[in-house]
Amino acid sequence: MADPTVFGMEEKSEGFEPSVIDESRLRKPPPKYQGLRMFRRNKAAVFGLILLIVILFITFVLPVIFDGERTERVGGIHLAPGAEGSTTFGTDYLGRDVGRIVMQGGSATLKVAALAALVIVGLGTTIGALAGYYGGWVDNVLMRITEFFQVLPGLLFAIVIVALYGASTTTIVLAIGLIAWPTIARLVRAEFFRQKNLEYVKAARAIGASDARIIFKTIMPNTLPVVIVQSTLVMGSAILFEAGLAFLGLSNPKDLSWGFYIGVNRNYFLSNWWGVTFPGLMIFFTVLSLSLIGDGLQDAVNPKLRGR
């Protein structure tokens, strides 16, 4: 922090008082905020963040304001949006309000995606850290396992698990978690390989820190930027996986999640485009917002990759 070149005072060699730094003479912002500034300057990322906030508002706040039973019949069946006796977003094949169902269906999807992302990040960082830190045969075994999971066709494997073990939240979360962790494991492994021989790790080892301490307390925090960027992107693909499973009917029918609702409306899509379009738009915007945020974070964390 006390690097004089950062604060632009190299001319002032004598009589230097640290307490009277003229803030206007700072040449660079402290490195701490550089990432945040870069994120803020990235208009697409800011747009993504706003989009995500709007989606979270629709999913978690609006249902509280407009409370009511979403399975309730509000009018005739297949009424177009804005038609006489219809609602803003139209009615479905049972005369239910599409807008209300879509508004409330997001919480299930987002919950599953968030939990799955936790499983993915947990599994991925642990396996990647162990493989990268120990190297040798540990790395060999763990990487063979990682390769095996990369070869498995993701969605199909998840479908088989959920079909065999039932469509509970736990099964779906674990199924998505199991298929998506290898990417993070590989990234974390590479980071550990890069960092494990750096001075600060040697220092930790020299003062007698245990392996567990070095892995989780010393090196892990330094892999966080990579992991955070990746988890945003992983959340997006978890949402797409959940939507795919639910579309095939592999989710809790009571949740009426976005993917599931597209699945039940699909037989009527020729005459009822709104039943398929609105839930799909929500999935699309949610994944888009996460991709935009992830890209923005990527640029902030690793400016060299910008525009690539």
Partner: protein, 327 residues
């Protein structure tokens, strides 16, 4: 040559691992095949279930069951479909294989040809409007659920414009020559292949743009330009050869994702392939069929990876000499 032999052995190991995984998935699931039979046929006496377990070998130790299962699968026996009068699963999958192969290959061809062309052209002028719009397009393509894309395309091209058929693989009442029949097939194929391929068109345009940007800055490309070669020759003959390597690398791995996506797309378009079969198996809780499809698709991915690996060696001379670096 030796490296390729090692790769083949590794691939075989992966195939065995998939078979063991399949076995474990069923073995660890609550209830066995006899329980589900008993469930579908009503009351069953303990003696009958006991006899059936013996008949299916379910009373033997787990290791014996596993050995039998692995042996059967290696001989191409994936069991029978309970929901379809005990038809052999292998036969059912074989029947549905061609439509899925056709669909996936077409989608992949769209993805590689369109994606690489767009990415290469975008890399030539990275600050142009065209280049920026490909980045936006890639983001949009990434974020659309494939089945939803399918319905959007259907609504636009089949319902509103009436240009293309809504579902299936061929017009059943079709009457005409061979050529007309192929044209009919192509019309049915276009939308499913486009829906399935969209996300990969997006992915490849982004990937090839990034890799071409890097290659175009390299010395040998400058040399090629300095020699006075035309832009097209520099771009597509010199630069692309290196720029395409990352695409080839991910191609093999993404084959599994494409075939998985085919389940969703085939369900949307009533395309009579393996994916549609998997969906039917989900609805009918037909475990053997599902596991059969999982095995077959995994096998395809493993083989595709093996082929990719060989091609990779052929196009990148550095790997041909020194072998891939681990990392």
């Amino acid at each position: 040559m030796k490296q390729i032999a090692v790769r083949i052995l590794q691939a075989f190991g992966l195939v065995l691992a998939v078979i063991v995984l399949n076995f474990l998935l069923v073995h660890l699931a609550p209830g066995d095949a006899v329980d589900s039979l008993a469930g579908t046929s009503g009351e069953m006496s303990p003696e009958t279930t006991q006899r059936l377990r013996e008949q299916y070998g379910l009373d033997k130790p787990v290791t014996t069951q596993l050995a039998t299962y692995v042996g059967n699968v290696l001989q191409g026996d994936l069991g029978v479909s309970i929901a379809n009068n005990n038809r052999p699963v292998t036969e059912m999958i074989a029947e549905r294989l061609w439509p899925t192969v056709l669909l996936s290959i077409t989608a992949l061809a769209f993805a590689v040809i369109l994606g690489v062309t767009v990415g290469t052209l975008a890399a030539r002028r990275p600050e142009s409007g065209f280049s920026h719009s490909t980045t936006v397009f890639a983001l949009i393509g990434f974020s659309m659920p494939v089945f939803w894309t399918g319905y959007l395309l259907l609504t636009l091209f089949s319902k509103n414009l009436g240009w293309l058929p809504i579902s299936g693989m061929e017009n059943l009442r079709f009457d005409g020559g061979w050529l007309a029949k192929q044209w009919d097939l192509a019309k049915h194929l276009l939308l499913p292949a486009l829906s399935l391929g969209l996300i990969y068109i997006a992915a490849y345009s982004r990937l090839s743009r990034a890799s071409m940007l890097e290659v175009l800055e390299s010395d040998y490309v400058r040399t090629a330009r300095a020699k006075g070669l035309g832009e097209r020759s520099v771009l597509f003959k010199h630069a692309l050869r290196n720029g395409i390597i990352p695409i080839v690398t991910v191609l093999g791995l993404q084959f599994g994702a494409i075939l998985s996506g085919a389940i969703l797309v085939e369900t949307v378009f009533a395309w009579p392939g393996v994916g549609r079969l998997a969906f039917e198996a989900v609805v009918e809780r037909d475990t053997n069929v599902l596991l059969g499809v999982l095995f077959l698709v995994s096998l395809t991915v493993i083989v595709a990876n093996l082929i990719t690996d060989v091609i990779y060696r052929l196009i990148d001379p550095r790997i041909r000499v020194s072998g891939p670096t681990n990392g």
